[in-house]
Symmetry: C2
Subunit: 124 residues, 2 copies
Amino acid sequence: MTTVLPLIHSDDVGAYGPRLTAGVVSDASAESLAGVFKALGAPTRVKLLSMVAAAPGAEACICDMTAPVGLSQPTVSHHMRLLVEAGLVTREQRGRWAHFRIVPGALAAVAFALQPAGSATRES
Amino acid sequence: MTTVLPLIHSDDVGAYGPRLTAGVVSDASAESLAGVFKALGAPTRVKLLSMVAAAPGAEACICDMTAPVGLSQPTVSHHMRLLVEAGLVTREQRGRWAHFRIVPGALAAVAFALQPAGSATRES
DNA sequence: CCCACATATTGACATCTGTCGATACATCGC
DNA sequence: GCGATGTATCGACAGATGTCAATATGTGGG
């Protein structure tokens, strides 16, 4: 049950994907959006995601995250797998280590889906 | 286990709440954010939320939503309760009907939490 | 070649979740 | 008051989820 970006479907899509506030979303869009939200729906994964984003070089490996979240290595590996399947992070195996990175634009796409109709995001 | 906005906590907060990409979030922020994401983590609730947003007058009652989602009335009531508890919609009892509305700014606050550091939202 | 180390997989378990049918509660019209 | 109607609550149940210990897999160093 691997959920993947892009969150693009037929009816309720804007330029960057479906939008919650732009009419009733299709079943497919609801499924895609809920898939990403479900991946974000555990405190552990929220923290892991922020740790990846905040890591030096925007890159983190499991060994660096196990201790801070206070969970076992298999559990952290499991959560990271879910984040990868949701299309929020990428895994890159380099030697013994698995390096995780935030997928560029993935979080922004979800943010876009939540913004009120008629608003846009601008870089400062 | 009623989760409520605002998603404000000590360390990782910006002007509008915690931000996933602005350093490692605190346990409390991770819990708050995950609570909202969990509420959005079911296709049924995503669709219900968009139906409320798209309803005439931005207001909907259970009786209008039961048929479109194809679920029983108790189930829809249950989902709406979760959305209310997550702080995403409000319930207002008027006569026999329960009227639901999107909480102004609630979705925007979640969107803010997901936006990359240094970006802002602007009305068009 | 073998050991140490980083990660993934498996199996198990308690808990949470989504759904329903049955039923209770509340309000309106008559 | 009574019946109809909209909504909430309760009890039940299958399935998903988060976690762990044990184990497997893979990689690098000596």
